[in-house]
C-alpha cells in the first residue's frame, strides 16, 4: 500500500521508508510556506536575540549597583548607583518593548503561513475531482482546515521564541561553562547522551501517537458533520441513541490518543528535569571534591552550578517546542497528503482558448466507468450539433446523469474523448469550458446566504436587475418577492429556508443568468408542481432557441420542446430520433410516452 496523497491516511504503522517519505513531503510543504517569509523571520530572530541579551544583562547591573554603587553611596557619590539604575531601566524597557514587538511579529508570520495554507487547501480541494470527494468526505476536509491547522498554529505562535531563545541560552551557557571549568563542561556533555536517547524515544513514540490523534480527531469531525447534515433523518429514524454510542466511541478514541500523547510528554518533561538534576549533583560532586582538594575555587564551583542549572531550564522550553512540533508535523503530514492528491480531472497544461463557442458537442468513441471494471457507459459515439435541444430519457440508473457529467467535465471519459466545437474538453481552458457549458445538477444545492447571492453565483458580477430578470424568466420572482426580505432573504444552510421546488427554481435561475452556450438540465423540474413546470417550459422554449441543450427528465412533457430524443438503457443509447418519429414508432420510447400520457389527467 502506498502512502502517496491521502492513501494510508488512516494508518499509523508506517515503515521507516514510508515515514521518511511522508515527513519529506511535509517538510517540502513547510519550506515552500516559509520561504517567502525569510526576511521577517530573520527580523524576528534578531529581535529575540537582542531582547534576550537585554534580559540577561539586567542582573549584571544589579550586581554592579550593589558592588559599586553602595560603596560610592557611602561616600556621597550617587553617580554609580544612578548609572546602574538607569542602565537597568534602559535594558528593561528595551527588552520589554522588543518582546511585545516580537509577539506581534510572530503573530504576523504565523497568520501569514496559516492563511496561505488555508488558501492552498481550499483551492486544491476545489480542484480535486468528485471522485475524490465522494470517498474522502467533507468532514475530513473540514478537519484538515480546522483542527489540523490549529495544531500548526500552536507551533507557530510560540515556536520561534522557544527554539531561538532556548537554543541561544543553551549554546551560550555551554560555552561559558567550558571556559570556566572544562571538567564540568565534560560532565555537561556527558549528560547529552541520555538526553539524546530520551529525545529520540520521544520522537519515535510521539510521532505515532500524534498521527493517531489527527486521524481520531478527523473521525470525530466526520461523524459530527454527518449527523448535523442529516439531522432530520437522524431524528425521524430515532438514530440518536445509536449515534450517541458511536460518537462516544470516537470521542473516547480521540481522548485516549490525546491522553497517550500527553502522557508521553508527561514522561519526557520530568525525564529532562531528572537528567538536569542528576547532572547538577554530579557537577557538584566533581566540583566539591576538587574544592575540598583545593584545586577549584568556591566561587567557580558556584558559577558552574548556576550555569548547569540554567542550562536545563530552557531545555524545557525546547521540549515544549518539540512537543508542539511533533503535533504540528502530524497535522502537516495529513494536509500535505491532501495537497499531494492529483485531480483525476486535471486542468490542461497548454489550454486551448475558445472565446466564442458555438456549442457543438461530440462524444468520440467514449467509454466510461466510475470504478475500474464496472463500465457504466459502454463504447459509443454521439454527435450533438450546435443549437440542438436534446431530451435525454431512460430508466433510472441508466446513465443519463453520467453522460451529462461527462459533458460538463465532472469526469473524464475512460477512453475516447468529449469535444466542444472540436476541442477536446481536456484541452479546453477551464474558464471557457465553464462559461460555455453549465449544468443544473439533480441535487439543487443552495449555499447559505441571500437568494440574490445564490442566483448571482451563475454570474458574480450581475446587477440586481439581472438577478431579478433571471428569476422572472424562470417564474421564481413571485415567490421570492413573497419571502420576508425578498431577494435579501437568507436561505439558510442548504437552502433549508425555502421549499424543494423553490430551491429548484433558484438553481434554475442561477443557470439562466450564467447564459451558457450549452445548458444541461438534470431533472431540473422534478420537484416542481405542474403549473410551475409549465411556466419553466415556456421559458425554456425561447431560452433554448439558439443554445445547445440537454434536458434530462422523467416527465416527458419536456419532449415537446426537444428537437431530438435520446433513450438510454443500461448505459446505451437505444433510440435516437425526433420526438414525432419515436412516438409514432414501436420502440421503448413510444411505450414510455404512451404510459406517461395515460398517467396525465
Amino acid at each position: 500500500m502506498s502512502v502517496t496523497g491521502v492513501e494510508g491516511e488512516e494508518r499509523h504503522d508506517f515503515t521507516k521508508e514510508e515515514s521518511r517519505q511522508i515527513r519529506a513531503r511535509s517538510l517540502t510543504l513547510l519550506g515552500s510556506l516559509v520561504r517567502p517569509l525569510w526576511g521577517r523571520i530573520i527580523l524576528t530572530i534578531v529581535v529575540v536575540v537582542v531582547s534576550t541579551a537585554a534580559q540577561v544583562a539586567g542582573p549584571a547591573f544589579i550586581a554592579f549597583g550593589i558592588d559599586n554603587g553602595l560603596p560610592a553611596m557611602l561616600e556621597q557619590d550617587w553617580m554609580p548607583l544612578g548609572v546602574a539604575v538607569g542602565a537597568f531601566l534602559f535594558t528593561g524597557i528595551i527588552g520589554a518593548v522588543l518582546i511585545a514587538w516580537y509577539t506581534v511579529l510572530t503573530a504576523r508570520i504565523s497568520q501569514a503561513i496559516l492563511i496561505e495554507l488555508r488558501k492552498r487547501v481550499f483551492l486544491h480541494t476545489q480542484r480535486l475531482s468528485l471522485e475524490f470527494h465522494e470517498s474522502y468526505t467533507s468532514g475530513r476536509i473540514i478537519a484538515r482546515q480546522t483542527s489540523d491547522l490549529d495544531a500548526i498554529r500552536e507551533l507557530l505562535d510560540s515556536g520561534i521564541s522557544q527554539l531561538v531563545q532556548g537554543g541561544l541560552y543553551m549554546a551560550f551557557i555551554a560555552i561559558a561553562l567550558f571556559g570556566l571549568d572544562w571538567v564540568s563542561g565534560l560532565v555537561l556533555f556527558g549528560s547529552l547522551i541520555p538526553l539524546w536517547f530520551l529525545t529520540r524515544w520521544f520522537q519515535l513514540a510521539s510521532q505515532k501517537v500524534f498521527r493517531q490523534t489527527r486521524t481520531a480527531s478527523a473521525r470525530v469531525i466526520v461523524h459530527f458533520v454527518e449527523t448535523m447534515t442529516g439531522i432530520r433523518a437522524v431524528k425521524a429514524f430515532r438514530k440518536e441513541k445509536r449515534n450517541a454510542k458511536e460518537f462516544g466511541g470516537l470521542v473516547e478514541d480521540y481522548r485516549y490518543a490525546n491522553e497517550r500523547a500527553i502522557n508521553l510528554f508527561g514522561i519526557f518533561d520530568p525525564g529532562l528535569v531528572l537528567i538536569g538534576n542528576v547532572t547538577l549533583a554530579v557537577v557538584l560532586l566533581v566540583g566539591g571534591l576538587r574544592v575540598a582538594g583545593g584545586s577549584l575555587a568556591i566561587g567557580a564551583l558556584l558559577a558552574t552550578l548556576l550555569y548547569t542549572r540554567s542550562f536545563f531550564a530552557p531545555a524545557q522550553e525546547i521540549a515544549m517546542f518539540y512537543n508542539s512540533y511533533q503535533s504540528a508535523a502530524a497535522a502537516l503530514e495529513k494536509i500535505s497528503g491532501v495537497l499531494e492528491e492529483q485531480p483525476s480531472v486535471p486542468d490542461p497544461t497548454g489550454p486551448i482558448d475558445l472565446w466564442k463557442a458555438k456549442g457543438a458537442v461530440r462524444f468520440d468513441d467514449v467509454e466510461f466507468s466510475y470504478k475500474e471494471g464496472r463500465v457504466v457507459l459502454p463504447h459509443f459515439t454521439l454527435d450533438i450539433p450546435a443549437g440542438q435541444t436534446i431530451a435525454l430519457v431512460g430508466s433510472t440508473g441508466a446513465g443519463k446523469s453520467t453522460l451529462a457529467k461527462l459533458i460538463s467535465r465532472f469526469y473524464d471519459p475512460t477512453s475516447g474523448s468529449v469535444t466542444l466545437d472540436g476541442v477536446d474538453l481536456r484541452q479546453l481552458h477551464p474558464k471557457d469550458l465553464r462559461r460555455a457549458i453549465v449544468m443544473v445538477t439533480q441535487e439543487a444545492y443552495l449555499f447559505s446566504g441571500t437568494v440574490a447571492d445564490n442566483i448571482a453565483l451563475g454570474k458574480p458580477e450581475a446587477t440586481r436587475e439581472e438577478v431579478i430578470a433571471a428569476a422572472r424568466a424562470v417564474g421564481a420572482h413571485e415567490f421570492i418577492e413573497g419571502l420576508p426580505n425578498g431577494y435579501d432573504t437568507d436561505v439558510n444552510k442548504r437552502g433549508g429556508r425555502v421549499s424543494a421546488g423553490q430551491r429548484q427554481l433558484i438553481s434554475f435561475a442561477r443557470a439562466f443568468i450564467a447564459d451558457p452556450v450549452v445548458l444541461i438540465l438534470d431533472e431540473a423540474t422534478a420537484s416542481l408542481d405542474i403549473p410551475s413546470e409549465r411556466l419553466v417550459q415556456e421559458g425554456l422554449q425561447t431560452l433554448l432557441a439558439d443554445r445547445t441543450a440537454v434536458i434530462i427528465a422523467h416527465r416527458l412533457s419536456t419532449v415537446a420542446i426537444a428537437d431530438r430524443v435520446l433513450v438510454m438503457e443500461h448505459g446505451r443509447i437505444i433510440e435516437d430520433g425526433t420526438p414525432a418519429a419515436l412516438i409514432s414508432g414501436t420502440g421503448k420510447f413510444s411505450r414510455m410516452h404512451a404510459a406517461w400520457r395515460d398517467s396525465l389527467v
Binding site: 503573530a107 488558501k119 480546522t146 520530568p270 547538577l280 568556591i298 451563475g458 398517467s599
Partner: protein
Amino acid sequence: MQGKLLSSDVHEKRPGTFAAIMRVYPFAKPAMPRIYLGMGAAMLAALVALAIPQVLRSLVDGPLKDGDSSEIWWPVGIVLILGVIEAIMIWFRRWFVLQPGTHIEARMRNGLYNQLQELPVNFHDRWPSGQLLSRAISDLNLIRRWFSFGLVLFVVNTITIVVGIVVLASINWILGVIFLVCSVPLVIYGYLFENKYSVVARRSQDQAGDLATTVEESVHGIRVLKAFGRGAHALRNFESQAELLRGTEIEKAKAIAGIWLWLLLVPDVTFALCLGGGVWLASVGQITPGGLVAFFATATVLRFPVESIGFLLSMTFDTRTAADRFFEVMDEKNTIVDPESPRTIEKPKGRLVFHDVHFRYADSPERFPDLVDGIDLELEPGETMALVGLTGSGKSTVTALATRLYDVTSGSITLDGVDIRELSLEELRSHVAMAFEDATLFSASVRDNVLLGRPESSDAELDEALDIAQADFARELPEGLDTKVGEEGMSLSGGQRQRLALARAVAAKPDVLVLDDPLSALDVDTEALVEAALRRVLASTTALIVAHRPSTVMLADRVALLEKGRITAVGRHSELLASSEHYRFVISSLEDEGDGPGYTPSPPTTPIPIVTSGVSRPSTEVGS
C-alpha cells in the same frame, strides 16, 4: 455563502469570568480531586526546586569552606534526592492532571453532541454548521487545556507570588511596599485587558466557526461550484473571511503584546526603584548587603510567575469565551421534548388526525399569515391520503409536523386518539416513518442506510423493503448491500437514492408512512413498478403522500388539496377533478398539451436576452 456572525454582544449582563468558567464545573467535578492533587504536586515541586539552593548554600558555607571532602557526599546525596523528587513531583503533576483534563473534554463533547441531537430542527435551521463544529472541537480543546494546565499554573503561581511578596516584605518592609504599590498598575491593566481581549477572543472564535461553515459548504456544494466554474469565486469569499480572521488574530496578538509589555516593564521599573532604594537603605544602614542580595534573589524567583500571568490571563479569557459559546448551545431550550408522563398506544391502528392545526416558522414576520392556517384532516387506519398543493404551499411542512420535527403552533395532531405530544418521541417516531423529498443518506453501507429505523431487522425484511422500492440495483453494487454509498449517497444515481430512502421508510415497518414526493426521480416504468409493490404495503398502512403528479396521486384513496394554508378540498381524485378548479390547475397538464401526443416545433423566436430589466413575464401564476 457568507456565514453570519452570531450576535456576541447580546449578553445583557456578563457574569464574571470565574463564574462563567465555573459553569463547566459539573463536567469537571469528577476530575477535581486529581486536579487538586496535581496542584499539590506542583507546589511540592516548586518547593523542592527552592530547597536545592538552600542545600547548596549550606554546603558552601559548611564542608567546602572547611575543605573536608568526606563531608561532601551527604549534601551531594541530598541534592540528588531532591532532584529526583522534583522530577517525580513534576511527573505526578502531569499524571494527576492531564488525564482528567481529557475526560472533561470528552464528557463535554458528548454532552454537546447529545444536546445537538436533541435540539429541534428549527435550531439547526438557524445555526450555521461550522459554528456548531468549532464549539465541539476547538472550544472544548481550549477548555481542556485550561483545566489541565492553566488552572494549575494559575493557582500555583498566584500562591508563589503572594508568598514571595510576604518574604520580600519580611526582608525589608519599605522595599516590600514599593513592590506592592508597583503591582497596582498591573492589576488595573489586567482589568482593562480583560475587556479588550474578551471581545477580540470572542470575535476570533466566531470567525473561525464561520470559516468552518464556508469550508463545509464549499465541499458539500462542490458540484454547483464545479458546474459553474466558481472555484476561484468561492476562494475569494473564503479568502476575505480568512483575512478577517487573520486581522482579528493579529489584534489579539497586539492585545497580548500590550499586557506582556506591562508585565515586563512594571517589574523592571520596580527592580530599578528597589535597586535605587535598596542601595540607599543599605547606605543608611537600614538593610544589610546580604539582605539586599536575598531580596533580589527572591524577587528574581518571582519574575516567571509574574510574567506567566500574561498568557495565563489570555488563556483564561479564551476559555471563558469557549465556555460561553459552549453554553449558548447547552442553554438553548429544547422545545420539542418528551412529555412528563408519556402515554403509549397499545395497539396502534394508525388513525392520524389533524385538528385545526396552525403552524408558522419562527422567523416568519408578523405581517404574514400562518403558513399552515387551520388544517383539519382525518386519515383513517389503512387509508392512503395524497397531499397536493403548489410549490411552497406547505406540504413538506405538514409532513414534518406529523413526526414532531416541528411542533404545531396551535391545534393538535392525534395518532389513534392520542395527541402526539403526549407520546414519547421515540414511540411516535417508531409509529410514523418518513421518506424526505431529498434522500438524506449517510455515508454508510446500503444495509445500514435502509435499516436505519429498525437495525434489528432480518435479511428477509431487508430484502422485502428493497423489493418494494424496486431497489434490487443495490444487490448488484460492487460489494452488494455492504457497498458504501458515498457521502450523502452521492455515488448513486438520483433515482437510486430516492428508492433507498423509500426502502428505508418501508423497512421501518411503521403504522403511518409519510412520503414526501417519493417518486419524483423515477422514470415511468419504475414508478409503475414501485406503485404496484407499494400498494401492497399501503393496503394495511396509513399513509400520507405528498404528490405533484397525477401518477403519484393514483396511489391514494383520497386526496387532500392544500391551498393557502388550508385544506380546501378532500375527496377522490376524480371527484376533485370535477369539483375543484384549483385542483385541476395544480395537477392537470392536459389543457396545455394542446391536441394530444403531437410534436409542435417551437416557433422561431429570438433568444431571450439575459438582461430584460423591467420585462415581466405573463403571469400564469395563480393561487399564491
